[in-house]
């Protein structure tokens, strides 16, 4: 391929993009993310190659698109599949190293050495801690400036902050606080949660309000990875199945860590009755919902398309414009509007039904009522698309076939089922299948309309109208457990189901589209 001759515009552009990217990547490398930096470096290199070398010409068109697709479609899938083999939840949140480090920070009071302390307020609002040994007044230490939020309760064990020795004669910068200021400004509350480490790595922390005292680390790390309690000799071992440090008696100690658990999450879906029961129920409802949505929207859409194809009917264009309105309004708004209309006590639907028929269905509290409402709303949302597609299909049928049938003397309804439907159904199959797949993952509708409610009895966070994708979302983000591992396993199964559907669809439409 002949490159553009003249100004080296392309080369200049490549340099203008690559240089900042390299600079950014250097920052990423410097903050310790070596592998990520390496991956980004490879991508930058590939990009530079594609846009500079003639050999990569074709990929100049593909590179930006593939980059976006790779990062935001493929990476999330790979990441999900990876997470599905791990134990990763709010209880097993930290990496193993962080979890271990937290245990190593735990300490108990030794009380054999005590220190006077003073806080020095700095001009930028931060504080410096000053310590002076009670027994050897020449042993003085200062901290780097740190932030303190008055009155904030300490949470968990925090990493110890290093103290450095203060040479004799040198003053601490800032304004020293009186003891009463420390108590009145409630600075002692966050201070009680802090630990500091002397240069020889002895831990010190507040003991009472007036003093600092040396502390001993609670756990010693043994060569085999176990931890021994210095106070009572208890031994802790990491259990990589549980994702916790456990004692010999099996008690969990400290914060859990993320761990690789193989197929545990998948096994749990099939065997754990708390998951398995709701899972299959929700699976069935998801299939029923998607199937019925397709059939109903197709039915209504086709009926309207057939009526509007009747050439002698007046005002057809006006009708069609009005009929596609539900498709034109942003779906989020429509769904929320229906949430109001179907409000069980005050909504329009029930006010109308109460007034005319004298009964008010329980759209919110009865599972069947909620399901019926969801289908009604989904038909409302989905029929215009089907109508448009069917109209296109009907217009492509040559009118000759009807003339032959008219001679036969058969009626319009018979004609439709005998001639039209068999003709239009096969080419519509791909659209029907993608509509099925779309509804299979119709998160918005359920999330905004019912929120999955009413709750499934004995189903934990599962709701009677939850689709699998909503259920997964709830497990990952809404459950008190925020169980990412389990959610990822269900998501992987879901992806598999929809992927197979998409593949079948591709094979079916392969007849119509040449790739």
């Amino acid at each position: 391929m002949s490159a553009h001759r003249g100004y080296p515009l392309r080369q200049i552009l490549v340099v203008l993009v690559v240089l900042p990217a390299l600079y950014l990547n250097f920052n990423i490398y410097q903050t310790g993310n070596v592998w990520i930096a390496l991956a980004i470096l490879i991508v930058i290199g590939l990009g530079a190659f594609v846009y500079l070398s003639d050999a990569g010409y074709t990929y100049r068109y593909l590179f930006p698109g593939f980059l976006g697709f790779g990062l935001f479609v493929i990476f999330p899938i790979v990441y999900m599949v990876f997470l599905s083999f791990t134990k990763y939840s709010s209880q097993n949140l930290l990496s193993f190293d962080r979890s271990l480090a937290m245990l190593e920070q735990e300490s108990f009071s030794l009380g054999n050495e005590s220190y006077k302390y003073k806080l020095y307020a700095q001009e930028d609002g931060r504080y410096i801690l000053y310590l002076e040994s009670d027994t050897h007044s020449e042993k003085r230490f200062v901290s780097a400036p740190f932030e303190l939020t008055p009155g904030e309760q300490p949470q968990g064990t925090q990493e110890a902050q290093k103290l450095s020795p203060l040479p004799p004669g040198q003053e601490v910068p800032g304004k020293p606080l009186e003891f009463t200021q420390v108590t009145r400004q409630k600075l002692f509350i966050p201070m009680r949660g802090r630990q500091f480490a002397l240069p020889d790595d002895t831990l010190v922390a507040m003991e009472g309000l007036q003093k600092f005292a040396s502390r001993e680390r609670l756990w010693t790390l043994n060569a085999d990875g176990s931890l021994t309690n210095r106070q009572d000799g208890k031994v802790l071992r990491p259990d990589f199945r549980l994702g916790f440090f456990v004692t010999d008696k099996g008690e969990k100690v400290g914060a859990g860590f993320r761990t690789y658990t193989g197929f545990d999450n998948y096994v749990r879906i099939v065997t754990d009755p708390r998951i398995q029961g709701p899972f299959f129920k929700i699976f069935l409802w998801t299939i029923a919902f998607s199937g019925m949505s397709v059939v109903l929207t197709f039915g209504v859409g086709m009926l309207l398309a057939v009526i509007l194809e009747w050439k002698e009917l007046g005002f057809r264009r006006g009708y069609r414009t009005l009929l596609i309105l539900p498709y034109a309004v942003p779906a989020v708004l429509s769904i929320l509007i229906f949430k109001g209309l179907f409000n069980q006590e005050f909504g329009a639907v029930n006010e109308f039904l109460r007034g005319t028929l004298g009964f008010a269905p329980e759209w919110e509290t009865n599972p069947w009522g909620a399901r019926a409402m969801i289908l009604l709303v989904n038909v409302w949302l989905g029929y215009p698309y089907m109508m448009l597609v069917c109209t296109g299909m009907l217009q492509s049928i040559p009118s000759g076939i009807y003339e032959a049938s008219a001679i036969d003397g058969s009626g319009a309804v018979v004609d439709f089922f005998r001639l039209t439907l068999p003709l239009v159904l096969p080419p519509l199959m791909p659209i029907l299948i993608s509509s099925f797949a779309f509804n299979f993952n119709n998160f918005n509708l359920i999330y905004l309309l019912t929120g999955g409610g009413p709750k499934m009895v004995g189903g934990g966070i599962a709701g009677e109208t939850d689709l699998l994708v909503n259920y997964t979302f709830n497990i990952a983000f809404r459950d008190s457990g925020t169980n990412f591992g389990l959610a990822s396993a269900i998501a992987t199964l879901l992806f598999f189901i929809v992927g197979v559907l998409a593949w079948i669809n591709l094979k079916l439409s392969g007849r119509n589209v040449k790739i």
Binding site: A3, H4, I28, I36, T58, Y59, Y61, L62, P64, G65, G68, F69, L71, F72, V73, F75, P76, I77, Y79, M80, I307, W310, L313, G314, Y319, T321, L322, L325, A328, V329, P330, A331, V332, L333, L336, I337, G340, L341, N343, F346, G347, A348, W380, P427, I431, A437, F443, N444, L448, V469, F473, F484, A487, L494, V498, G499, L506, S509, N512, I515
Partner: protein, 300 residues
Amino acid sequence: MTATQKTNLRKAAAHGFVIFFLVLILVPFAMVISASFRQGNFAPSRLLPDKVSLDHWKFVLGIPYQEIVNPATGQTRIVKAETPPLRWFWNSIKISFLSSAGIIFLSGTSAYAFARLRFTFRSPTLSALLILQMFPMVLSLVAFYVILDFTGQYVKWLGLNTQTGLIMIYLGGISNYIWMIKGYFETIPPTMEESARIDGASQFQTFVRILLPISLPIFAVVFILSFISYMSEYPVASVVLQSGENWTLAVGANSFLYEQEKLWGRFAALAVLSGLPITVIFLLCQKFVIGGLTSGGIKE
């Protein structure tokens, strides 16, 4: 009964059915409009408001108004939205517009390669694009969170709670559009481009100067479809955008409907205000969109 009578009867039945159906379809819209003018925050339930008030509209537009706190004492207070809800609409427009423009760029260039250039794994890649895109965005949220959390450490404006970060994530959803545009490119015979090549134009020039101008209609379709889908996107936006002034229309509208207190009136005013222009634009571009829908997926 003569044949004409029979036809007229049928026509009347058809009109009757369609009109009945239209009433069912349009009543919800009428009720929302009415709810937006009705005093108090009631679920939409009447065609005509009993007590007309402009309070909800003022709220949505960010205009302060007086509200009676205690009817017995006549005590009032001034109410003004912290973030004018109109801003969410503007955010949505901005985000959807920029995302759609990006989508056009990314899918247009990729589609060109698929339609006009030959490379290894071309058709498996096309199939893979379609299948992988079926993975619902909602379930990628954990990964999106991780990505934005990471990028935000180095580039502030690409982190969590930024609109640019959200736009960046939206740019991943290109595969359906690649397919649509590629289908359109393939209906255009390459003869013109070929003769331009013979006259000395570069490949890139034939793409930009010849193919792109003819293909404007399909780009219009892709733009409108992606614009509409991003206007309605809820889950990703709700996780990425945390502070009120960054919210999109979908997140903001849903925020009026808390479990404890559902502010239907305000929601209705926002829905009318923002739904109306989008609906009008859609109807004006109807011809384009319908053409794209019926020709994009399948061809005969």
